[in-house]
């Protein structure tokens, strides 16, 4: 996955992401595709969650998955989740949960709670940082005020790190699937190419078109990419596009 929160020169915040999923789950040698990735694409839907006839938030979901991976709460905040791989990963959490320890929250349930119930960027950040979960994760949160962008690096128990856009010394903040203070695996470096393309685009070109181009540049776009989502918090706009990466294309 690759998630980006970026601010244009007027202070408007954009949040975009590629959702990559299905690594090592069935490589189809004939078609050069990942089996689960292929089966996820037909399930992609935008959801408009309403109460009293009004939008509470909008999300991009795989049909039937009740949690939230990408969403915008208009005028308040945006959120995306990138997978964080860890030896002490979700397996430990699942086994504990099956054995009756239900104090831990499923990742998707936490993000759903945040989108439904948090009424501010700071409240969302607190909930995402402090709730005990079944699995580790990266939460990328954008607000509706200048400088409001944060990457929360989570272990199952708590936030390992909270990295703010103001501390990133850039007009954007970017996360893939590695702790930002460490180098990514050299075989899977989508971070450096994404930074290169964001810097080449420049702040003045920040918007749906510019960020979509960044997320279309290989290997940021790769064989695992299922969709690209573009969000603008101030208007509540959400656009989602199903992605396929034609050969020659990076397998991840």
């Amino acid at each position: 996955c690759t998630s980006i929160v970026a601010e244009d020169p007027s202070g408007a915040l954009y949040h975009a992401r590629n959702l990559d999923f299905g690594l090592f789950i069935g490589w189809d040698v004939k078609n050069n595709t990942w089996a689960v990735t292929e089966r996820l694409r037909p399930l992609i839907v935008n959801l408009d969650w309403q109460s009293g006839g009004r939008t509470v938030f909008k999300s991009v979901n795989f049909a039937g998955y009740t949690g939230i991976l990408t969403a915008v709460k208009p005028k308040l905040f945006t959120m995306s989740m990138d997978e964080r791989f860890n030896i002490d990963g979700g397996f430990v959490g699942i086994i504990k949960w099956l054995l009756g320890d239900h104090k831990q929250k499923w990742m998707g349930f936490l993000t759903r709670d945040v989108m439904e119930n948090a009424t501010s960027y700071s409240q969302a950040r607190t909930m995402l940082a402090n709730t005990v979960m079944l699995s580790p994760a990266y939460f990328i949160l954008g607000g509706n005020q200048s400088g409001e962008g944060t990457v929360i690096t989570r272990s199952r128990e708590a936030a390992v790190d909270i990295w703010k856009m103001s501390n990133a010394s850039r007009w954007y903040i970017l996360e893939t699937n590695y702790d930002h203070w460490e180098a990514p695996l050299f075989l899977d470096d989508r971070r450096a190419p994404a930074h290169k393309c964001m810097d080449a685009m420049g702040q003045k070109n920040t918007g749906f078109a510019g960020i979509f181009n960044v997320l279309s540049s290989q290997p940021v776009l790769n064989k695992l990419t299922t969709y690209t989502a573009l969000m603008k918090v101030s208007t509540g706009e959400l656009e989602t596009y199903i992605r396929t990466c034609k050969d020659p294309c990076s397998p991840w």
Binding site: I25, G26, A35, V36, R39, P42, L43, V45, N46, L47, D48, W49, Q50, S51, G52, V56, K58, V60, F62, A63, G64, T66, L69, E83, R84, F85, N86, I87, G89, G90, F91, I94, L98, W106, M107, G108, F109, L134, S135, P136, A137, A183, F186, D189, A192, P193, C197, A200, A209, G210, F212, N213, S217, Q218, P219, Y227, T240, Y241, I242, P248
Partner: protein, 123 residues
């Protein structure tokens, strides 16, 4: 496009002019009415996508069963105890997942497994 990535130097071809993409790739929208009982919220979507959800779960199970006896035991446990486990989930998730299972005709344990898919893949 081509690219070469190493620890010291990154060469990447940054794409231009690709937006807006083909309108056929644009994703449509469903409304989820939070005022409905949880069991009914996903009814239309579940009916429309039942075949695709089943195909995904089958594929998902096929591959994670290859990981070894631990995953096999977890899947069998979820399959057999799905109903009991679903009842322990907080509101509104128990009702929503049950509604999804009922409207797709998919076993409740399998629907529970689908909703745990992220947790499975973080190792």
């Amino acid at each position: 496009s081509f690219f070469v990535v190493d620890a010291q130097n990154v060469t990447v071809t940054c794409e231009k002019g690709l937006y807006p993409p083909d309108s056929k790739t644009k994703v449509g929208t469903y409304i989820i009415n939070l005022d409905l009982p949880p069991e009914q919220r996903w009814a239309q979507l579940a009916k429309d996508k039942a075949t695709e959800i089943k195909a995904l779960i089958d594929s998902f199970k096929e591959f994670i069963l290859d990981w070894g006896p631990a995953t096999k035991a977890i899947i069998e446990f979820l399959d057999s105890k799905g109903g009991d486990l679903d009842a322990t989930l907080p509101y509104p998730f128990a009702g929503e997942i049950k509604g999804l299972a009922d409207n797709t005709g998919i076993n409740l344990g399998e629907m529970l497994l689908y909703n745990l898919f992220y947790e499975f893949f973080t190792v």
